[in-house]
Symmetry: C4
Subunit: 262 residues, 4 copies
Amino acid sequence: MISRLRVLQITEAPRAGDAASRRFGIFILALIAANVLAVILGSVPELEARWEAEFRAFEVFSVAVFSVEYLARVWSCVEDPRYRGAVRGRLRYMLRPLALIDLLAIAPFFVPAAALDLRFLRAMRLFRLVRLLKAGRYVTALGLFRQVIRQKREELVLSLALMAVLLIVSSSVMYIAENGRQPDEFSSIPASMWWAVATLTTVGYGDVIPETPSGRLAAGLISIVGIGLFALPTAILGAGFVEAVQARREPAACPHCGGQLH
Amino acid sequence: MISRLRVLQITEAPRAGDAASRRFGIFILALIAANVLAVILGSVPELEARWEAEFRAFEVFSVAVFSVEYLARVWSCVEDPRYRGAVRGRLRYMLRPLALIDLLAIAPFFVPAAALDLRFLRAMRLFRLVRLLKAGRYVTALGLFRQVIRQKREELVLSLALMAVLLIVSSSVMYIAENGRQPDEFSSIPASMWWAVATLTTVGYGDVIPETPSGRLAAGLISIVGIGLFALPTAILGAGFVEAVQARREPAACPHCGGQLH
Amino acid sequence: MISRLRVLQITEAPRAGDAASRRFGIFILALIAANVLAVILGSVPELEARWEAEFRAFEVFSVAVFSVEYLARVWSCVEDPRYRGAVRGRLRYMLRPLALIDLLAIAPFFVPAAALDLRFLRAMRLFRLVRLLKAGRYVTALGLFRQVIRQKREELVLSLALMAVLLIVSSSVMYIAENGRQPDEFSSIPASMWWAVATLTTVGYGDVIPETPSGRLAAGLISIVGIGLFALPTAILGAGFVEAVQARREPAACPHCGGQLH
Amino acid sequence: MISRLRVLQITEAPRAGDAASRRFGIFILALIAANVLAVILGSVPELEARWEAEFRAFEVFSVAVFSVEYLARVWSCVEDPRYRGAVRGRLRYMLRPLALIDLLAIAPFFVPAAALDLRFLRAMRLFRLVRLLKAGRYVTALGLFRQVIRQKREELVLSLALMAVLLIVSSSVMYIAENGRQPDEFSSIPASMWWAVATLTTVGYGDVIPETPSGRLAAGLISIVGIGLFALPTAILGAGFVEAVQARREPAACPHCGGQLH
């Protein structure tokens, strides 16, 4: 018989040397990947029609595994000093973000399909992509990403604010310049924002394009100024990434006393 | 009765510990944001038709608040040693850029609508976006942006000059290559610039496209050289941003010996 | 008579001072470049029709040279201490990636054309582009590229994983938002990925575009977040390149005291 | 009477304190800018038709000034020790790139128009843009740009080589995948390169788009890999720019002896 403490250790993120826990983690990660693939492939009508039974069976199997995993976590969590207490400890554990994600990943399955209209049913199916978030538990590298965003918070917020201002101003300018000529495409400032986003991100679909000379002149100036501004977050994040990984690899030393920094 | 000095302190950018001033600043910023939102939503014909009275009422309220704010600033500015003098001091204050923005943010409201034709009236409404600039008073981070631009002035000016030369040269080349085949799209060098801007910024709407083999060859070479050049300002600004924020955080001190790092 | 050892030296990547080996390398590189050019030009129907005999003759000449080169390498490789042994040594040599590429570069020529249908025949012709890989033997700078990718492996893998997640999530969101309105363009999640790739890379062909308000709102948010994420690998690689080249040039020495810098 | 040495000093790039030379330089630069503007505006048929006489007069005036400038340079160059010798020295001077540009900037004016057909005549007019190059003499910042390119030569050449390989490979792949479905757009590898350039630079006009599933899959992978590679030169140039300007501002010091580096 496997002890409750052992269940906790296995279902937790694996520690060095714990082979059972590592194998369990790899199995769950593989199942998550297979689920994401199933959702993607299941959205193709031909595949869904042809392999309906198989998709269904795999879904039942996945929900069964994830349910057992969830129950095992809730059952064993009281071995963790932070969640002592058969009822209150378990409730506290169940309200943690990671535990809520575990619940969200299985809950939709238990909603009776009869209660849902067709369109909503489809959204429900895609909702299974939430299972992707379960993988966050195992991806330690996400910490690096979070750290970079926290470190560059100031620059990112300022960039985003400037981007918002540029978006509003350029939409308004194009609305004034083009509304008379193209009342449908530039019917309002929010409508003009569709053009502005496509241009400032340099996606440039080409479905909405200024036609008046003043509109084109404004669009040209906005493009040149805008692409610089909209690419700033990338430049900032890129630099942050490189710095963060370097800081991890090379513990810097103080030039005065030789003590380790960071 | 609130003293004139206190009015000056409250309407100025808040200093640490002055709760009334901080609350006043937050209120003005929120009102500016609501105004920008109102201008954006008010440009949607359906919303404007349905909530006309509410938009109007909010505009009257906003102008009233901003007018009181403006008068309070002009009234109290003489407490500032720089603007001594009931008439000349106030005039000097009113000619400062920030005070002129405050005036511009309310002035259009007092222009009689009868004097304006419809198209101009709409532009007038959007002119209320000038109120965005009032927010500049409170956003200290803008100083960082100004500093980066000043620090990288040299590189930015050179990049912009090279971009201008590339824009002129590539427009001319495409004008020669494509004018014979597409006399409307590439009718002149300024007309070809519309293609050049869309290509060099990589927006690529696709409304104007070279069709001759020589035009396509030239367009290919221009794209490859051009995107590098047009993305330079971003690379320069991004590096400047990262440097500037690092310079503000530091000088760091060694936790072991207290010696200054960097 | 030229010795087997000398053949090995000449066919190997040239060492300083070995003029014959250098001349041989340049000749092979030039022949590779001419072959690539021939494949490209030979794909133009008019050129292929007009110069068919010449293209054929050049192909025969190239295969002859590359075959002689391959046989010379296999014959002389036993002089290399690593490949001692007339049969087993030569077999071990022939299984090295570079030797396999050498074989692949000539093998298709010896497949009887009668055994192939037309479409496959054309692919076979383009397969000659594999000869490009032969150039890798001489391009030492490729080592730099490999080194940068190895050094930035961690950041690149994390970026790619985040890009994959964003690609899946944004395709799914657009599938839900647009499938009702455009059932052909957004027929499934894999189909929506075509839109997602075109948007997130900012290519923006404009053949598939969201039309519903919710789809456009989602597309706008996805673009703004996405371009930053999709441009991360470039920022990381660029930084890695600059670092790697600097690290090769240094360690520099102070011109005054001779002390090592950096 | 102004001496030949003084003419040399004035027409050379201005030195600190030489007001006449500085004024001459500014005048020439302004005239160049006006010429570029005239070429651009003169390409607009309506403007050309309306102001034909004025454009012609300005051209005559410009050529007169540039001719006098050229003759003054050739006349006075013998005062420069490098160009001693009335005939051979002047010839050596006239063959310098900058002197050739000066000649090219005026020479087309003296070609009899009767000898040219209309299309060539127009190209001739745009040829006046060569006058832009005359400005290079005065723009010292171009040295910075040249220095960056020289310093990052190695990385740039490697990037360009990888870009060329990717361009060839992706054009070939798309040619195989799409030629059967779209024989006009993907008629050959060179024709497919038009798609490849538009995609890899992320311009994405949208005039040539893969339609087969395998073509779209290949296009997606090519986009994701390609944009990183094609943006590398920008990242490298951007980093080089920042380094070069910093190196100019901050003469680094050796940490061992304190001697000045760079």
